[in-house]
Symmetry: D4
Subunit: 221 residues, 8 copies
C-alpha cells in the first residue's frame, strides 16, 4: 500500500492515480473553498497530471483554477474548468447521443473528460424517442463507435433503443432533466438499469464525469 500522495491536511491528493489507473484524480468543487481547489490543482499539476478537471464548478471555483494555471479552459453552463497538459494521443471513438436539449451540460461533461483521457468524441444531441427519426443521422457514428454513451432524462427510453441497435458497449447516464415523477433522475436511472436491452451499464445521475472515465477506458483498449 505504499504509493505516493500529497498531504495538504484537508486533502490527501492521490497523485498516484494516473500511474495506477490511467486517469488522473479530478476535483469535485462542491464543499471546497477556492483556496482548497487551487491547492489541490497545484498538487496534481506538480505531480505531473496530464490534465486537471474541476467539476460542479461555479465562477469562483473556475477562477481558482485559472489563478494557478494560465492555460485553464472552461464551460460555464456545464460548470467545468480544466487544464490539458500532456494528454494522451487520442485512440478509439466515443459516440454520445442525448435525449433532449436540456441534457446539454451532462453531455459536455462526458465529452471533456473523455477527450482529456485521450479519445475522439462524436456528439449527437436531442435525438430522443419522442421523434425517433432524429436518431438517423447518428446511426453511422453509433456503428463505428468503440463505446457508446447515452445521456437522457425523463423515461430514458433512448438508452434501450440504442442498446438494441449497436454492437459496442453502452454506458448510460441518467439525467435529472424533467419534473414530477422523474424524481431528479431516479426514474431515468431505474429505466436504464432495468433496460430490456442487454449490454447497457449505468452510472450515477448527471455523472458525466464517471461516464467519460469508463468510456475512455473502453474506447482506448
Amino acid at each position: 500500500m505504499d504509493r505516493p500522495f500529497v498531504d495538504l491536511g484537508f486533502a490527501r491528493v492521490d497523485t498516484d492515480r494516473e500511474a495506477r489507473q490511467g486517469a488522473p484524480e479530478a476535483i469535485y468543487a462542491e464543499g471546497k473553498t477556492p483556496e482548497e481547489i487551487a491547492a489541490i490543482a497545484t498538487a496534481l499539476l506538480d505531480g505531473g497530471a496530464s490534465s486537471v478537471l474541476v467539476t460542479r464548478a461555479d465562477e469562483a471555483a473556475r477562477a481558482a483554477l485559472r489563478s494557478v494555471a494560465a492555460d485553464a479552459q472552461e464551460d460555464e453552463r456545464a460548470r467545468l474548468a480544466w487544464v490539458a497538459r500532456e494528454t494522451p494521443t487520442p485512440r478509439g471513438v466515443v459516440t454520445i447521443v442525448s435525449g433532449g436539449t436540456s441534457d446539454g451540460p451532462v453531455v459536455r461533461e462526458v465529452q471533456v473528460r473523455a477527450e482529456l483521457l485521450g479519445t475522439t468524441v462524436v456528439v449527437h444531441r436531442d435525438a430522443g424517442v419522442a421523434g425517433l427519426h432524429r436518431l438517423e443521422p447518428a446511426l453511422e457514428d453509433l456503428k463505428r463507435a468503440d463505446c457508446v454513451v447515452v445521456v437522457a432524462g425523463w423515461d430514458a427510453a433512448l438508452a434501450s433503443v440504442v442498446g438494441g441497435l449497436v454492437a459496442a458497449p453502452v454506458i448510460a447516464v441518467p439525467t435529472s432533466t424533467g419534473y414530477g415523477a422523474t424524481f431528479g433522475g431516479v426514474s431515468a436511472l431505474l429505466a436504464m438499469i432495468t433496460s430490456c436491452a442487454a449490454g447497457v451499464a449505468v452510472v450515477n445521475i448527471d455523472d458525466g464525469f464517471g461516464a467519460g472515465t469508463i468510456a475512455a477506458r473502453i474506447a482506448r483498449q
Copy 2:
C-alpha cells in the same frame, strides 16, 4: 344519489354502473370466497349486465362463475373467467402491443375486457425495443387504431417509442415482469408516466382490466 344497487350484506352490488357509465361492474376475486363470487355474479346477471368478468381468479373462483352461468368462458393463465351476454356491437379498433412474451396474461386481460365492452381488438405481442424491427408488422394496426394500448415491463421503453409514432391516444400498462430494480413494475410505471412522448396516460401495474375499460371508452367514441 338514489340509484339502484343490490345489498348482499358483504357486498353492495352496483347494478347501476352499466347504465351510468356504459361498463358493468366486474368482480375482483382476491379476498372473496367462491360463494361470494357466485352471489355477486348472479346479482349482476339478474340485474341485466351485458357481461360479467372475474379477474385474478384461481380455479375455485372460475368454478364459482361456471356454477352460476353455464356459458362462462375462461383463460387460466390470465386468471380470468367471464360471461358474455348481450355485449354491444363492436365499434372502433383497439390495438395492443406488448414488450415481451411474459406480458401475455396482462395483454389478455386488456383484450377480453375491451371486447366485452364492444370493440375490435388487434394484438401484437413481443415487439419490444431490444429488437425494434419486430414492431414493423404492427405499424399498420397502430395507424388505424382508435386507441393504442402498450403493455410492457422492465424499462417499458416501448410506450415512449409507440407514443412518439402514433396519432391515437395511448394507454400504457406497466407490468410486473422482471426482477431486481424493476421493483414489481414500479420502474415501468415511472418510465411510462414520465414518458418523453406526450399523449400517453398510465394505469396501475398489471391492470389490464382498467386499460381495457378506458380503451374501449375511447375507441367507441
Copy 3:
C-alpha cells in the same frame, strides 16, 4: 425513419410531429436559454406548426417567444406563452374539474394545450371532495364531455368520485399541491393510479401539457 426535422445543433426540432401525430412539438423552457427558445420557436413556426406552446416559462422565456412572434399570448401564473396560428376547428368537448384553488395553474395548462389542439374546453374549479356538493354545477358538463380531465393534489379523491360517475374516459392529473406526506404530488399520483373507479388513466405530476394533449386526441375522435 427518414422524416423531416431541423437541426440547430443544440436541438433537433421535430417539425414532422404535427403531420405524424396531429399535435406540434412544444417547448419545455427549463434548462434552455431565451436564445434557444426563440430559435426553436422560429423553426417550428417556419415548419408550419399550427401553434407553438412554451411551458414552464419564466418572464425571460416568455419574452423570447414574444420577440419572434408578435402575436404571442401568455399566462404568467401558469408560466405559459403561446402562439396560435392555424389551429384546427374545435371538435369535441373536454371538461376539466379541479380539487382546489391552488391547482389553478395546472388547470390552465391543460386548457391552453387542449384548445390549441382544437377542442372546446369547459372548466370547473375547486370542486373537491371536502365539500362534494360543489361538484353539482359540473354534473351537466361532465355528462356531455367527450373526455374528462380531473386535476387534484393532496389525496386526489376527486378523481375516483368523478371516475365513478361519468361515462367518458377520465384523464387524471396529480398536482404537487399540499405539504408533508403529499410528497410533491406522489400521494395524489398513487391514489389516482390505484383508483377504485375503472377507466381512469394518469399522467405525470403537474403535467397539464400531457393531459391536454391526450384529452384533445380523445375528444376529437
Copy 4:
C-alpha cells in the same frame, strides 16, 4: 413507575393497562407459540381483564385461547379469538363504513375490539366511491355516530368523502387490499393522511385493533 405486571420471563404482561387506560392489553399472535399465547391469556384473565383479544391468530393460536377459556369466541376469516368477561355497558355509537367486500376482515377487527371496550357498533360494507350512491343507506348512521371509522384499500377515497360529510371525528384505516401500486396499503395510507377533509386521523395499515381502541375511547366520552 411502580404499577403491576406479571413477569412470565418471555413476557411482562401489563395487567395494569385496563386500570390505567381503560382498555386491556391484547395479544398479537404472530411470533408467539400457542403455549405463550395461552400463558399470557391466563395472566390477563387472572388479572381481571374485562376481555382478552387475540389478533392475527391462526387456528393454533385460536385453539390456545380456547384451551384456557371455555367461553372463547372466534372469527376465522378475521383471524381473531376473544373472551368477553365483564365488558363495560355499551355507551356511544361507532359507525364503520368500508370501501369494498375484501376489507371485511379488518372491519370485523374494528368491530370486535370496539364492542369489547363497550360501544354500540353499526357496520356498512362495500360503500366505496366507485358507486357512491351505495353510501346513501349509511348516511343516517353516519350522522348519529359518536365516532366514524372508514376502512378502505386502493385509493381510499372513501375516507375523504365521508370526512367531508360528517360532524363526528373520523378514524381512517388503510387496508392492504389491492395490487400493483397499492403497495400493500401504502397508497391508501398516504391518501388518508393527506385527506383534503380536515378532521380525519389515521392508524396503521390493516390495524383494525388500533382503530377499534381509539374509536371506543372517543365514542364512550
Copy 5:
C-alpha cells in the same frame, strides 16, 4: 347534494361546512394571491363563519386578512392569521404536549384551531423522551384531558410514551423537525403510525390544523 356555497370563479367557498360539520372552512394560503385570500375570507365571514383561519400565511397573506377584518389576529412564527367572531363556548379540554422547542409553530396551529372551534387548550412544550422527567408536570393535564395531542419530530417516541400512559384518545402530529434520516417528518410519521401503544391516530406532517380540528371534535363530545 344541493347545499350552499359561494362561487368566486377561482374558488367555490364552502360556506355550508360549518353547518354540516361544525367547523368552518379554513384558507390554505400557499398558491393563493392576497386578493384571493381576501375574497375567500370575505365570503366566509359574510356567510356567517364563527371564525376564519388562514394557515401557512406569509406577511402578505396575513395583511390580506387584516384588510378585510379589522379584528384579525396573527402569529408570525406559526404563519397564522385569524378572525374570531362568534366562536362556540368552550367545552372539553385538549392537552397538547410537544417533544422539543422547535415544534413550537405546529403546537400553536393546533392550539389556535382547537380554541376557535370551542375548547380549552393546555400546552406543555419540550417534554421529549431524551429527558423524560420533563413530562412530569404534564401528567395532571394529561389525565384530565378529553383529547391529547402529541406534537413531535425526529423519532417521535413521545407519542408512544404518552399513548401508553393516558386513557384519552391520542392524536399524533409528526413534525418536520430534524435533519438527515428524519426525511422531513417521514420517520416521525412512521413511528407514530406504528406506535406500540394502541389508541393513537395520526395526521399529516406539520398538520396542526387537522389535529386541532379532530381534537376539538373529540373534546367537545
Copy 6:
C-alpha cells in the same frame, strides 16, 4: 496485506480475523449448502477459532455444524448453532432490553454472540413503552452495564427512552416485528437512527449478530 486465510474455492475463510479484530468470522447460513457450512466451520475450528457461530441456520444448517463438532449447541427459534471452544474469560456487562415478546429470537442472537466473545449478558424482555413501568426491574442492570443493547420493532420508542436514561453507550437493533407501515423493520430503523437521545448507534434490522459483536467490543474495554 499478506495475512492468512484458507481457500476452499467457493470461500476464502478469514482465519486471521480473530487475531486481527478479536472476534472470529461467523457463518451466515443463507445461500450456503450444508456441505459448505461444514467445510467453513472445520476450517475455522482448525484455524483455532475460539468459537464458531452459524446464524440464520435452518435444521440442515445446524445439523451440518453438529456433524463436524460434537460439542455444538443450538437454539432452533433463533436459528442459531454454535461451538464454544476457548472463549475469553468474561469481562464487562452487556444489558439487553427488548420491546416485546416477539423480539425474542433477535435478543437471543445478541446474547449468544456477546457471550461467545467474552462478556456477561443480562436480559430484560418485553419492557416496551406501551407499559413503561415494566422497565423498572431493568433499571439497576441498565445502570451497571458497560454497554446497553435495545432490541425493538414497531416504532422502537424504547431505544429513545433508554437512550435518555443511561450513561453507557447504547446499541439499537431494529427488528422486523410488526405489520403494515413497519415495513419489515424500516420504521424502527428510522426511529432509532433519528433518536432524540444522543449516544445511540444502530445496526441492521434483526442484526443481533452485529449488535453482539460491537457490544462485546465496547463492554470488554
Copy 7:
C-alpha cells in the same frame, strides 16, 4: 427497420440480434412454459445462433432445452441451461471477483455468458472487504484483465476498492445477498452507482447475464 425475426405468435424471436449486435438473444425463463422455451430455443438454433442461454431456469425449463438440444449443459444452482454451438474463439480476459460465497450463482451467470460470447474468464470468489487481504491473490488477474466484473451484495464496498485499484473498465453487479436494510440488493446497487471510484458502471441487481454481455463486448475489443 426490415431485419429478420421469427414470429411464433406468443413471441417474435429476434434471430437477427447476433448479426446486429454480436450476441444472440437469450431466453428469460420466468413466465414462460416449457413448450414456449423449447420453441424459442429451436427458432434461435435454426436461425444459426452460436449459443442459446436460458436464465432463471427451474428444472422444467432446463429439461425443455435438453429436449430440443442433446448437447445442452446446465448449472442447477445458478438456474442456467445452455447450448454452445459455434461460439467465437476467445479474445480478451474478463476477471470476476465476488464479495462472498453466497454470490456464487450470479458469478456463474456472468461467467457462462461471457464465455459463450468468446472470452477467457477468471474467477476469484469471496474476496470481500471484511477481510481485504483475501483480495491479494486476485491482484495479478485484476491487472491483466481487459474488463473487471465485481459481484457483491450487502454494502458492495468491494466495487469501490477494486474500482480504486485497476486500470480496466469495471462492471459492478449488485446482488440480493443479505437481509434487513439490504432491501434485496438496493443498498448494494446504490453504493455501486455512487462509488467514489470513477470508472465503475452498474447493471441490474443479480443481473449476471447483462454483466457478462457487456464485459464480453469490452474485453473482445
Copy 8:
C-alpha cells in the same frame, strides 16, 4: 421521575442530563431564535454544565452564544459554537477517518463534541477508498484507538474497509456529500448499516454530534 430541569416556557432545559448520563444537553439551533438560544445556554451554564455546544448554528446563533459567554469559541464552516468550562480530563483515544475533503464539517463536529466530553481525538481526513493507500498513515492511530469513527459520503465504502481492519468499536457517520443517487446521504447510510464488516454501528446522516457523544462514552470506559 422527579429530577431537575429549568422551565423557560418554550423549553424545559434538561439540566440533569450531565449528572444522569455524563454528557450535557446541547442546543440544536435550527428553528430557534437567537434569544431562545441565549436563554437555553444561560440555563445550562447556570446549571453547571461542563460545556455548552450549539450545532447547526448560523452567524446569528453563534453570536447569541457569544453574547452570554465571553469565552465562547466557534467554527463557522462546521456551523458550531461552544463554551468549554470544566470539561473532564481526557481519557481514551478516538480516531476519526474521513472519506473525502468535503466531509470536513462533520468531522469537526465529531471532534469538538468528543473533546468537550473528555477524550483525545486524532483525525485523518480524505483517506477514501478511491485511493486506499492514503489510509496507510492512519493505521497506527486506528490500532491504538479506543473507538474509531468513520465519516464518509457517496458509497461510504471506507466504513467497511476500516471495519474489517480494526479491533476497536467502529461508529459510522454517513454524510450528505455527493449528488444524484447519493440521496442526501441515504445511500451512505444504507451501505454503512449493511456493512459486511461486523461491529459497525451507525448514527444519523451528518450527525457528528451523536457520533462524538457515543464515541466519547466508549473511549472513556
